[in-house]
């Protein structure tokens, strides 16, 4: 077991626990976008950055393993500022603001980005990608995808159907089902785990 201090609160966690787990054990809220309890940590969104005593720079709490005696500051100025910049960047790639009931909107609000926020680094957005609407339960607005990989991992690590994959690279990375066939014509089993985990409602349950 490792003793870790998070924002002044001491907690005892397993030796292989992540800083994020330790922070949660201490009751400290660390925002995340690519993290899902049902999946292995991914380390893509970098919104869970925290300050760690002795480290050169803030580190992502989801993929950093605790050390005995570690002192963590989840409110570290630089960590919060960089995380906030990342969320700002994420908002800037979307053609419109996320629905208020999405995880992204909640995380953004936590950084003070509400409705009407104009991005600090404006630029190209994901527009013109065709939406999928031919499934009785699932719809996919590709232009709202932030490539967090949660849907792909839900299909892989939870459901085991492997119907989804990340495609493209860099800024244009996105997600497709099967050979870009959509949910209906791919091997998708319609379990909905992707919609369940999507933080932006790019994949959403048709009401």
């Amino acid at each position: 077991m490792a003793n870790v201090t998070i924002d002044g609160i001491e907690v005892e966690v397993a030796d292989d626990a992540t800083v994020l787990e330790a922070a949660r054990a201490a009751g400290c809220d660390v925002p995340t976008l690519c993290f899902d309890d049902r999946q292995d940590p991914f380390g893509a969104c970098r919104v869970c950055l925290v300050g760690i005593e002795g480290a050169r720079a803030p580190l992502p709490s989801c993929t950093t393993i605790v050390r005995d005696g570690m002192v963590v500051d989840t409110r570290d100025e630089r960590a919060r500022r960089i995380a906030s910049n990342v969320v700002d960047l994420v908002l800037s790639e979307l053609p419109h603001a996320p629905d208020p009931d999405t995880e992204l909107a909640r995380v953004a609000a936590g950084f003070g980005f509400g409705a009407g926020h104009s991005p600090r680094w404006p630029g190209a957005t994901h527009v013109g990608l065709e939406a999928e609407r031919n499934h009785p339960y699932l719809a996919f607005d590709h232009d709202m995808c932030i490539s967090c990989g949660r849907c792909v991992r839900a299909c892989d690590e939870v459901q085991g159907t492997f119907a989804l994959a990340t495609v493209g690279r860099g800024f244009t990375a996105n997600v497709v089902a099967g050979l870009d066939q959509g949910f209906r014509d791919s091997v998708c089993v319609s379990c909905g785990a992707c919609a369940d985990t999507c933080p932006t409602h790019a994949i959403w349950e048709v009401a």
Partner: protein
Amino acid sequence: MSKNLVELIRRHHAEDAPSALAVLKAAIDERGEITDDDRRAAAERSGLPEATVYGISTFYDDLLAPRGERHVRVCTGTACFAATGDAHVDAIRDGLGLGLGERAQDGSVSLAETVCLGFCHSSPAIRVGDVVDAGPGVVARVLGGSERAAPEPPARSTLATPVLTVRGAYAGLRRALTEMTPERLLEEVKAANVRGRGGAGFPAGTKWEFTRASEGTEKFIVANGDEGDPGSYIDKYLMEDNPELLIEGLALAGYAVGAQHGFVLTRSEYPRSKPALEEAVRRAHADGLLGEDVLGSGFCFDVTIVEGAGSYVVGEETALLACLQGLRGTVSARPPFPAQRGVFGLPTVVNNVETLSNMGYIAAHGAEAYQALSPGDTAGSKLVCFNERFASPGVYEVSFGTTMRQLCEDVAGGLRDGRSIKALQIGGPLAGILPASKLDTPFDYDALAAEGCMVGHGSILAFDDTTSMRDVARHLLHFGAAESCGKCFPCRIGLRRAHEMFSDGAPVDRASLEELLETLEVGSLCAHGSGMPAPLRSMLTHFPDELGLA
């Protein structure tokens, strides 16, 4: 990297299934484009899900551009940019009447962009099929259908006892297998304090030790031959013209770590590498230096050569492992480190080609002799290479501690055509830029780091006095954004935004740029996103007036 997909790959590999990437590469080589039928076939043969294969087929440059009967790839690397300011790109585009990534209607010819063919000594370079032509007149020759293979200067050494520029003869492997236990070899390598030559400078002996200590009987050695840094052609020389050193290094690593198999991941931009290595492997087998019972010692080791498909980030070790297994070359968070979970989820050493090429000398002559190759604290020698702007470009073996001025002026003969150095990019695009005023900085890890630069791969790329630094910034950010693997948010979006800031003539807000650079530096998952700001930082320090700042 998906544990499940890696496990599926492990199982299918055990039954000799090809990787999905290999099937897709073969398909586009054969038919010039990839169809859904090819993807289905790749899924079927590799044992990977169809969606996964789709993802792979949309990641690598080689799989994206359709190919005509003549497939022309124009190099847009930094050395070619430094030579022509991209005029050769415009010329070939206009000459063929095709945009980058386009194929003529009749299928006769196609044009694609490629980032660094490793002919930086003779820029600009253009590849037609597997023939790389370079140097003055290249565009006209290619347009006229008379391209020819460009010559490559031989590697030279400034050392009294060259290590990396003499043909390998397996003396180190012979000695290790007859006189040394694996533990003894490991101790020798640790004592030699070989720092990784791929850029990060991590001690190779420590990596070996971690992997040796990992549980499991099946382990692997991987040589990172994905020398993607534009301007660098050092590993290219080692793989193509001196492959014995690398194979010897792989076998030594295997012996020390307890691995039975090595892989080399080569670049598809270097079409000669894979055949050259495979030929060397075949010779080594014939000579009893690889195989079931190496030199009668009971040690078993074999080497497989795998070619990539065009992605800079694949040079990062986790992305390299993904590519080696035929997956998308995206970066994975560590832990787990390759020493714990590497190829097929098993303990793996990943070393750079040059790093491994040093091991034969260490095994043959010992750590002390190796330490003595350079005067200062840094052990061993280093290969460097110079771009076409220099009077005598090529690969040179040098000692650490030599000043940059000595290297540029004494070794490479200064710039050609009476031009003068404006700045140097040393060790690739993830390192800072050294202005001419700092040429007395020694070529060494710590000294360069103090100037925001690094040894990196060892490429030394000069921008001459005619170069616009704003154009350099735009060139580098275009490269950075295009090569981002797309996994972590800061790099995926941030590099795109940074490039956008420089893409038109508009003034760049300095505060905003610096905040973005810090976000990239702190937030990025790998050295691509965290390193791309380095040259920008240098330019902000040394050439603020040229950047068009607001």
